[in-house]
Subunit: 150 residues, 2 copies
DNA sequence: CTACAATCTCAAGTGCACTTTAGATCAAGC
DNA sequence: GCTTGATCTAAAGTGCACTTGAGATTGTAG
């Protein structure tokens, strides 16, 4: 089975098919998220499978993962191979748990906010939004907060 | 009722009481989120009530509001007055609805992701994560996405 | 009165995820 | 062959929310 024309894409074609800017694709390559081979004239050539790869990057990002996170996920795959369907499943499950955590965090905040609305305290020492679980004053000196892990 | 010493704070004191860096406080002032009066030697002096104000900024930020968002919320208060408890309630309600939207968005994504795990398509044209509600191809030419309103 | 800490202003730097610019090279249609 | 558009590299710029640095001034404890 030889390569059909449509198995090889220029950067512009990949951009068109993924909706991602050419400059962003070059940036992804720089970050190691995608790889390209080069034409005689040093132009990038991508594989059809990179459409999936780039799509996945965008999906993961839309779920709040950073480029680094995505890079780590990809790195966990055997030897930089183009991910198979079961690899996608694996990564998708990881993303789902990230999503779960984010939702739980927000729900927790919403609950606390509900408790706070109307209390009018909004004092750092007493506000539950700052001191969930009544931890204030327990962990050494100076202020500390229970904000989402930044 | 005259001003007690503790009603006036230096920037360092405000920083200590809110856990926000001095440089951040100066930045907030530059953005119009807080106001200060000046001492004879042009040092900033804050009011006790600014502790609340700054606390609120941090809370709002932790819920995903930008400085701009907070500025808008503050601007909606009558003539830059120091917010009353009922003002806080008002803003808190606005923030709650922001929170509601965020949670709903993430839950929607999680649901879609669940549907996608295992389907292995991850193709831009067919993936539900990109085309929720089967909108693909409806809205003119070129790729478009249903990502969170950026 | 004198150190020394705190504060001041203004400019520049940081990190993320890109975009933009500039100037050069390549590929394709006529 | 030539023109036009796509692509190339490298460097700089963008926006957010700050931080850091430099050099000057102020405030306060002893």
């Amino acid at each position: 089975m030889t390569l059909k024309h449509s198995d090889i894409l220029t950067i512009g074609e990949l951009a068109a098919r993924t909706g991602v800017a050419v400059s962003a694709l070059r940036y992804y390559e720089e970050c190691g998220l995608v790889r390209s081979i080069r034409s005689a004239g040093r132009h990038r050539r991508f594989l059809r499978s990179d459409i999936r790869r780039v799509s996945f990057i965008k999906i993961a990002q839309s779920l709040g993962l950073t480029i680094e996170d995505v890079a780590r996920a990809f790195a966990s795959l055997p030897e930089g191979r183009t991910p198979t369907a079961s690899d996608w499943r694996q990564i998708s499950h990881e993303i789902r748990s990230v999503l779960d955590r984010k939702i739980a965090q927000l729900e927790q905040m919403r609950e606390t906010l509900d408790g706070c609305i109307g209390c009018g305290c909004l004092s750092l020492k007493r506000c539950a939004l700052y001191n969930p679980g009544d931890q204030a004053g327990k962990t050494g000196s100076g202020p500390r907060f229970a904000l989402p892990d930044a």
